[in-house]
Symmetry: D2
Subunit: 310 residues, 4 copies
């Protein structure tokens, strides 16, 4: 789903934000592609972790095979699709389980990452995307105008629940001698809880991403809240390349940015009206700095890195 949405919005312009503050243009497709790459890494991690715990042991009360031949273990493990544990005690060593639950915790944190992004997109002031909301559906019972991102908020909480199993699983590693049973109650709870919760969360997240509504026009509107201001870095670079000292260039850009900030005027117009700026850059050069294509020219390259050629 992430891949499909990524290609769908490959060049849908959107403002990139650092610190929650507008920075430079990017595209909605890059956001989806980024989550796709993260989840692809998680799939690899999960496979490794699953292989790690898929071992079996039938080695007797303290692991010496005194009363049972090692070939029995090999035979049963082969039947069950497990690897025989090279050396066990009464139980399989619990560092394997710790690594498994730690991996679930990492994946849950990625779920939270996607969920938080969508919750931000759905804020009333941002409104660049939203969880699907069917026509007949009622939102808030008390407030008929509301459409809430309840699924992704729920996913944020589920991530915490999966993560909370990591430390107990690690505390389980240090069993006394050839085993004590302190790990058992822990695993009986976190085993089903963490795996089922994460499975549910991943399924829910897939559904949300698959059906979520994207508002490209709001993305443009947000980007232009302070018209042209997101291009300030490019103008700064152009000025310095035209021979203006970095210090002066910074001052020129900042004073015009301030006007935009205060009066919501157009940054390009302010620059074109600034004599010092115009002394350094021609009208064509200034206008060219506000070309959006400049920011999307490497999207293809990045997509090839993430999704391969195709």
């Amino acid at each position: 789903a992430l891949k499909r949405r990524a290609f769908e919005h490959k060049i849908t312009l959107r403002v990139g934000r650092s610190h929650g503050i507008h920075a430079e243009p990017t595209t909605m497709g890059l956001t989806f592609a980024r989550f796709y790459a993260e989840m692809a890494r998680n799939l690899t991690r999960l496979r490794t972790a699953r292989d790690e715990v898929a071992t079996g042991a039938i080695s007797g009360a303290v692991g010496t095979f005194a009363n049972i031949d090692p070939r029995v273990e090999e035979h049963v493990c082969a039947k069950l699709g497990l690897t025989p544990e090279p050396i066990s005690t009464q139980v399989i060593p619990r560092d394997r389980h710790a690594a498994f639950f730690a991996t679930l915790g990492v994946i849950a944190s990625s779920v939270e990452n996607v969920a938080i992004e969508i919750r931000h997109m759905q804020r009333t002031e941002v409104l660049e995307g939203a969880e699907f909301f069917s026509m007949g559906q009622k939102g808030s019972s008390a407030m008929p105008h509301k459409k809430n991102p309840v699924l992704t908020e729920n996913l944020t909480g589920l991530a915490r629940l999966v993560r909370m199993s990591v430390i107990p699983a690690m505390e389980n590693v240090a069993l006394w001698h050839e085993r004590d049973i302190s790990h058992s109650s822990v695993e009986r709870m976190i085993g089903p809880d963490a795996t089922i919760t994460l499975d549910f969360a991943l399924a829910r997240l897939t559904g949300v991403v698959d059906k979520m509504i994207i508002f490209p026009e709001n993305m443009l509107e947000n980007m232009n809240k302070f018209p042209g201001l997101v291009m300030s870095q490019r103008v700064l670079l152009a000025l310095t390349q035209a021979g203006v000292s970095r210090e002066d260039a910074y001052a020129m850009v900042q004073r015009n940015a301030l006007k935009v900030w205060e009066h919501r005027t157009d940054f390009k117009e302010e620059l074109l009206a600034d004599e010092e700026v115009c002394a350094a850059l021609s009208r064509e050069q200034i206008e060219e700095k506000f070309d959006m294509d400049y920011h999307t020219k490497h999207v293809d390259t990045i997509f090839r890195r993430v999704f391969g050629e195709s």
Copy 2:
């Protein structure tokens, strides 16, 4: 060090314990071999985790390469021995760091595992092993007779310290949009703290294992605290194989075990004096059940699994 100590005490007999209670004989070498296998797994995990975080990104303020060519990133990463991050924002995605710190947490838990085993060995009542204690060294300042396992107790605490970085590293994954800087203060503390603490812990643990003193005679003495009792399972199996019902066999073994438990008599002697037992098993059969070699016959096999042929 674990490997050397494992081979040194490959067949040093020791009682295996489950629940802290004597179960069946095993060997000290198997304990070391078990830790060796666990640490070998950890080395693999650490290499994977290190590769995962060894990526670099120079992709601009929001990751679009608008003002910098992707080839710069490739060139610099190549120089630094890093893999270019396929898709980044202003920063490298933090799921990589979460996986790294999670791995440190697993390794720390294994350190705790070994440390707890040694602390148990050094208990006054057990005294099967001890941290090295040089001749001139003073133990407790107030109590001249004491030799304390202070290094392994310290390692138990250090494990907690490394583990505590796992959850913050996971909470760092969900950054707002193209980055917020909340992860930075966290990483500036847990980055050096967790890696240095774990490195110190591993070095200290290696030293402890390398020089620790083993008391084979105490192991035998402990095993014989209730003489012969650890063989109860074997006798039980023999009785059932001789045609006695499992229920009767259990009763026969338990009543004789009880005498040993209460009067510290010899389990073998009690069995030889029990008419019902002797009706089912010959004197030779009973005596053969107390043969220690029975329990070590597969040690070679296990060592081959762990250390390979050699």
Copy 3:
């Protein structure tokens, strides 16, 4: 500082949000008052926790006072302003320390709570408040137009760092017999780290709140992004009180809300142009529903609850 800012903006109107979505009007002062109340609770918690750990013990190697009189303990504790520990071993019981660090973790979470609120306020799209930014100060080195909430992002990270000491402090409680020294390395790190980090965080937060810039006009602008829509609940209630069935009322409100949502028209105007609505409510009744004072009428009551009479 929270109290001063609360009174300053006691009736500064601001839209209340649930799920990040506009709900109903509230005031900025209520937000500050809410944090004030939370921090007042934290102060009480901290005092309780500090009293809990302020005990002393000089009771000998295992806590029996065999070689030292209890009166020595009483005398020294009195000099140091500590309570004598009623029953100790070689050390003071560690449940006291666990409760102390748990309290630090709660307080740190409240710091995060305030920090996240301010980060949301400073988002470009929201811009209802901002960390103070002095005139000469440069923002982003690359992007001259940016003012980033770096202090509150930093506080978000610091909260994670303080919280991470809670679990190790709890793992420290179960010492072996009359003490083992595993708690020591943990406390030597989390003791200074958690207290200093939290102290720094609280000082930084106080400074941020004290000097933060509030944009009341932006609050009004945000509230009116979809003009009048936040009053939908009141209209719904009025319709039902006027005898319209809840189902019909919901439909009436929703269809007019939808127009506002799609065309950014004024909700009140839409209602006044809706024949069915006008059949149930007079023009005066409808207009009265958009009176802002309705939402602030109990602010005084709430302030009295929080700050007492004054």
Copy 4:
């Protein structure tokens, strides 16, 4: 139960251990009294935490009481035995819940503390106490001689499960604006899970303590594993008080302790045979140092501190 067992074994001698190593004599009753005092503290903490969360709010969609009078809240809270929340949003502030779950985590750690002590007592080599084991009960199915501390091992695991809810509860504090619903899924799981698990654990622990078997004669045997050695500190002090330099005294004690350590001879006999020691202390003085009453003389005082006069 802890109180009853404490008085029962008020002066049952037992060796005190630091670092798992024999230190000086103490009594079994002091161990129980110590746990009693810890649990009494926990009861106070739990009551405080329960009062903290027993608040109610009916203050409307964002907490302004716009559509509902504060008197409704007061009335309903009074009916339910709750305190009205002085200032709420759509929900009650979550620092209250964080403090509550943190308290559960501290109590769970105390449960672990008692459980670990009992598990140590039941070790085959120590055997100073044991979980009750009814006559007909079977122990290990495979090993008829075994009595395992499975209840206290289980409690060790349950403690980890309760503790794991602390961090998610703290992560729940920072809700977005007037509430987001991310806390809800977390509380729906940890709410019942943590409270039920802890309630079960406390009930189980009470049962274990109530019925556990104490072996006073084994305590004496353990204390005398190295006969008289636990008195080394007292002899050291006596020598210095008799005018021997601390350095010389330490050497005298250590050389005799070493003999006991190696040959399990009697420490008192060794001292009486040491000319230098006898030059400093008379026979009576030496013998007096091995008087056990010396170590229990303040037990009454400690009991009064813990349980009050009675």
